[in-house]
Amino acid sequence: MAVLELRVKSIFLPLVIRAGIILIFASTAVALGIVADGSRGEGQGVSPREAVIPALMLFCVAALASLPLPRAVPPIIPALAETLSASVIIGGMGTSGLLFLPYLTIPLFIAGLSTGLVAGLAAAATATVAFGGTIITSNENRIDELNRNNALLAWVFILVAVPAVGAWIRRLRSDVAPDSEPAYADAHRLLSELHVVARQLSLGLDPRTLATALAEDISAVVPQADAVVLVRSTGGRFVSLSGHEPPEAAELTIEDAWVSAQPVKREASGRSFAAIPVLMGERVVALVLVITATGLDAASLRSCRTVIEQSGPRLASAMLFDDVRRLATTDERMRLAREIHDGIAQDLASVGYALDDIRQNSDPTVAKQVMTVREQLQAMVADLRMSIFDLRHGVNDTVGLGAALSEHAQRIAAQSDLAIHLSMDESPKRLPITVEVELLRIVQEAITNVRRHAQATNLWLTVTVEPPRAHITVIDDGRGLKPGRADSFGIQGMRERARRIGANLHVGPGPEGGTLVEVGLGTETAAFEPRHLARPAVTRVALTDPHGIPTISPVSPHPHNTRRSRTASHVRADQEVTN
């Protein structure tokens, strides 16, 4: 026999219930018997011995029936077995059997409750036949005896009614969650889909695609309505997943619906808004804003909610999957960073220190040669430090795309001979973090390419973020793309990242030689306007302070010299901060 995986279920409760019932009947029978003995002579009632033996037999049946069974056994089988054995025992008792007959209601009720009406009635029929058959074979006269006052008929009726009641309760219970099984099936399907997607490492379950489909479904149900699917990005701002942004006037409606996890309807500035949350369990994961001119009637709102209930779980899962992918990637990047940090980077640094030693102890000509090697090595270690930094850092809840990009650019400028001209126009709203991550990596890759291959003097990084749109260009004045670099590994990676977030990527020759990398999200990649090159570059970083006042900090003090002055970024150890 295979290993029985017993159900984790207490044996005591069913046993105690059954035993209690048997005890009550047995003692009733005995009491009646004693009373009968005293009053009417024999032939009536039950002697204690007559009651105890069937009671003990029923105890055995009850004990067996209360044992937990492996999950694979259908519940009707133990119920039928219990019905059959109890019927035979009770039938064999004759008149006093009537007192034990109520015991049969237990397995019959279980049969009805666990498997439904048909099986329950089958069990009732089994009980009736077994009970009747046993009586007939044991003593034919007993039927008449039992049939006094139509007791037997009444009992047959009860035996049929009990499983019917059980089956009815079963129906009621499943009505409470009629769609639970389809939902599970759907979730399972989704999981298999996720699995396939994860194995292909592409994004088949793209939240944006699903959100757009959801918005279209709503518009199909309510033709005069315009629907926007929103998620809450880091920093508590709402970001549209489905194309266009919600109107300003709806902001409070959206937030109230999100916080209360209830649909909120409100009129504002001549339009009517209904914000319906998409729930996953108790948690609000997204929100659908339905915009109409006249307001949604109850029926339309109901159909919107139905659409959302159907597509919501899919969207929620896609977002969850996105998140899981991001976390897994972050994890793996951390591991890589540790590996580089503890391995090759330390080894190279120690080689550097060894070279320093050789340089100090050699004559000037050799020292000069060693110095060249030492400088190359220093550049390599600096490069590794940067790689480790980029692997370990990215955007997160507090650091947005703009901050991460400007820090990256400024560090590159400080540690290389590349002058980076940064022009940043970032809205206080943030893109979804998964999108920010990919954009950051694309730009980092583009800058790295320039640093390593382009032999450029200047790099112009222009960032415009206006959720849900973003537009970024990276332009250098280097030697331009070499044949074969267009589909090199780095650019391939950039293309994959862009595809993942639905952005366009354009890599080609720059306006004045060099290379142009352009990423457009929610826009066609616009033709580049060469105004950044015509004018002397001024680094402008538009940052927004908590009060919403944009501040502009010019950082380039030499308008005639595109080579940025290094005063700000290359300060040696002659500055001190006294703490």
């Binding site: 508590g236 701002r237 902001e251 409070l252 937030e255 109230d256 916080v259 209360s260 209830q262 409100r266 940090h341 503890d342 330390q346 080894d347 640094a349 120690s350 080689v351 550097g352 220190y353 060894a354 320093d356 030693d357 100090q360 030492r374 220093q378 550049a379 270690v381 600096a382 590794l384 430090r385 940067m386 480790i388 930094f389 370990r392 901050a403 400007s406 820090e407 400024q410 560090r411 400080a414 206080p428 970083v541 940052l543 927004t544 302070d545 908590p546 009060h547 501040t551 700000a568 970024s569 290359h570 300060v571 040696r572 150890a573 002659d574 500055q575 001190e576 901060v577 006294t578 703490n579």
Partner: protein, 218 residues
């Protein structure tokens, strides 16, 4: 610009043996500096410092049983006069500021030549409480220009204004046409964002951050 005439006593902490060897040779070359001890972990480092009481501690950030920043904080608490140089392969402004906040005297990247580590150690011995790092000015500038402070949503701003006016939750809910539980959630979110435990603290924090807007009286 050290004016030390006596030998400087240095303890090196790094789990990479070749790095320790390279740095030891660099310090030996300097002539007036003596590496009196080496350690490959935080525990060994604390032991060595206890025994040797050096003038300068040079420590890596990533160590097998902890990190050099925490070590720096611990050492600084008991040794206000010890020079501490943080040496790291990690890049980025937050590392610099972490070293500064921990009470280090200097911060050097592992890409820099060994002489730079020696120079930082000399500086640390002379001015243990003055911090030096390459590109410190740039890091400072970046830190100053970074947006700071909690961001409240428009609805949270409205609720905060009413909180400051002293309205009860029920009144706020009525005023903004939202349910009481929604208003409660907004208030809880505001407290969380402002790091406040009650209304008074929230109002204080809002005033401090300039979030309370007198012009916004509706």
């Amino acid at each position: 610009m050290t004016s030390a005439t006596a030998n400087l006593r240095v303890v090196l902490v790094d789990d990479h043996q070749l790095i320790r060897e390279g740095l030891r040779r660099a310090f030996d070359r300097a002539g007036d500096i003596e590496v009196v001890g080496e350690a490959a972990s935080v525990a060994d480092a604390l032991n060595a410092l206890e025994r040797l009481r050096p003038d300068v501690l040079v420590t890596d950030v990533r160590l097998p049983d902890g990190d050099g920043i925490t070590l720096t904080t611990q050492v600084r608490a008991n040794n206000p006069a010890m020079g501490i140089v943080v040496l790291t392969m990690y890049a980025g402004d937050e590392q610099v500021f972490a070293a500064l906040d921990a009470g280090a005297s200097g911060f050097v990247g592992k890409d820099a030549p060994a002489e730079e580590v020696v120079a930082a150690a000399r500086h640390a011995a002379a001015n243990p409480r003055a911090f030096t790092a390459r590109d410190l000015a740039g890091a400072m500038q970046r830190r100053m220009s970074a947006p700071a402070g909690p961001k409240l949503s428009p609805r949270e701003r409205e609720v905060l204004d009413l909180l400051v006016d002293g309205l009860a939750i029920a009144q706020i809910a009525r005023r903004l046409y939202i349910s009481e539980s929604t208003a409660k959630t907004h208030v809880a979110n505001i407290y969380e964002k402002l790091g406040a435990g009650n209304r008074a603290q929230a109002v204080m924090a809002a005033v401090r951050l300039g979030l309370v807007d007198d012009a916004k009286r509706r």
